[in-house]
Subunit: 346 residues, 2 copies
Amino acid sequence: MKTVTMADVAKHANVSKSTISQYLNKRFDYMSEDTKNRIEETIRFLDYRPNILARSLKQKSTTTIGVIVANILHTFSSQIIRTVEDVCNETDFHVMVCNADDDPVKEKKYIEMLRAKQVDGIILLPTGINVELYKEMALNKYPVVFVDRTVPGVQIPSVLLDNEKAGEIAVQHFINNGFERIGIITNIIKNVTPRKERVKGYKEALLKNGFAIRDEYIKNLEVSNVQKGLEEMMALPEPPQAILAGNDLVLIEILKHIKKQNIRIPNDLAVVGIDEVSFSTFYEPGLTIIEQPAIEIGKKAAELLLNKIQTKDFESETAVYRYDPKMVVRESSNRIMSDEESQKLT
Amino acid sequence: MKTVTMADVAKHANVSKSTISQYLNKRFDYMSEDTKNRIEETIRFLDYRPNILARSLKQKSTTTIGVIVANILHTFSSQIIRTVEDVCNETDFHVMVCNADDDPVKEKKYIEMLRAKQVDGIILLPTGINVELYKEMALNKYPVVFVDRTVPGVQIPSVLLDNEKAGEIAVQHFINNGFERIGIITNIIKNVTPRKERVKGYKEALLKNGFAIRDEYIKNLEVSNVQKGLEEMMALPEPPQAILAGNDLVLIEILKHIKKQNIRIPNDLAVVGIDEVSFSTFYEPGLTIIEQPAIEIGKKAAELLLNKIQTKDFESETAVYRYDPKMVVRESSNRIMSDEESQKLT
DNA sequence: GTGAAAGCGCTAACAT
DNA sequence: ATGTTAGCGCTTTCAC
């Protein structure tokens, strides 16, 4: 591929490079119609395409941001990416997508590569582990926005689900439906806040309704122990009638157990899950899901980041933006998309 | 953010920039242990991070590729992105993701921006419209790989579903289940091959089984006319017992109609859809889906492109790689993910 | 073994 | 109105 540069255009059009540069940057104030036309013509004639890399080197801005998610296959992540891309597109920014698989090593590598490639900012679904790195970025005023999780002690703004409210809503839903003995199973995640907040919401809602908090109904387990933990809970003299799954991984385990034992939802056991992954994939009727408003979250995160970048206001801040959960009951499996839903997909 | 450059490191370490460059590129052959250590120390001390942009400008390679999909929310697209990213990660390439919404104008803009940003190649789910642009890229030996569709007359390799086989499998499935009067509805898509191939497969399978091809059972419609077209077909003196939906959009329309009329699948009407979108989202029991092997397709596309880039073999070629469809019957809605499936998500 | 210098393609301050 | 010039941060050839 022949590579035509500004110098070539300048020569052919009998002007200097700076004039071409002016032209490209639409500074026509002091440019004669004549040269303007001549340049335009030459550009077309030579099929000249500016090299944005060179510009970026000079301008110290690549109009590119990075998005690091845990897993693109999760609907939450793909909705975030989609929305971020949409917002970026409005100002001709581009998006570099990275899959960190919730692996701190990969996360670190990606952050470093993205910075080496001079992206103007990063939207990060943090593993929560690379605290020193997060802090260093905040310290150096590198534009970063966290999504889905906050990391305590790190001066980086976060956009996420109102996890406390999610816990509350779930419990309230159980109570409204006549369930009184309500358990919660979460899984062990380090250094990241949502789990605790969900448990807090769970407790608050119980208290608000005048129910006692029973420690034997609250378990925080490794994913591999969830099934066992659930069995134990169900073997209590007074087993819970309803279970709140603290996140997607826990829900998967609970559903597996239910399937194995031929338990029916919600009659034998009511279940609510707080969603991060594509639960459309296992469409258990009767199951209730608390969904993340991914679109709103992604939009806010992108706007925050782009605003930081464009206003060059890189002051680190610790603002946390929380968005309301949406409760969805899988009424029956025999559901077909609403028009609205199908439109989103097409 | 203080920006440390190679020159700073050179000065502090009392060597020249070129020596630093050697160091960074791991050309230690002629470097004394002493300077090597000194450089290493200085780099750490100054917290120096190479600017890959500057390197890219010089080397004319950004180790970044672009992926332009129709809609990230479609599982097909996100699987492609996921796989491409995985493959790229192995050789430290990065992926710029763009959502063209199947809009030729957006597609063109993205292609031009990606090229201006000097990405080393593009994986493109083509709208099929910007033929001149595709041709120009092929002519200039710009590395591009098409996914999901081929564009006739354009010298760019494609990786896609074996659409003919998909049509055949669907029809064979109907026939094996005792259905003889089989219709097909496709929607009008310009300048792109899959639709025709699916119809071809449909016809071949009928003939192979000794059934006649009935023109009144074959419709190619605008999406907005699918419901009407289906009604007409069902109003025939001998209505079809089974319908093959040519793609996702058609399937959505057919399912809406079915829901409205309270038709049961497959007893009242058997339906097979060829999938591109997330059909897990409407989990109609009894529905049969022919899925694209997105992982294989994405992997092949990424490997093809990276290979072109790394071997600098930019000869345009028109190879078409077709992958076998996978048939999935939605046996019952009451399905929970298999372990294998749930693993993919976590 | 290491350094000097030219250059990648562009921008922008300053001249003219 | 347009040109001159000095970079941006790196790589690479060729000297020493």
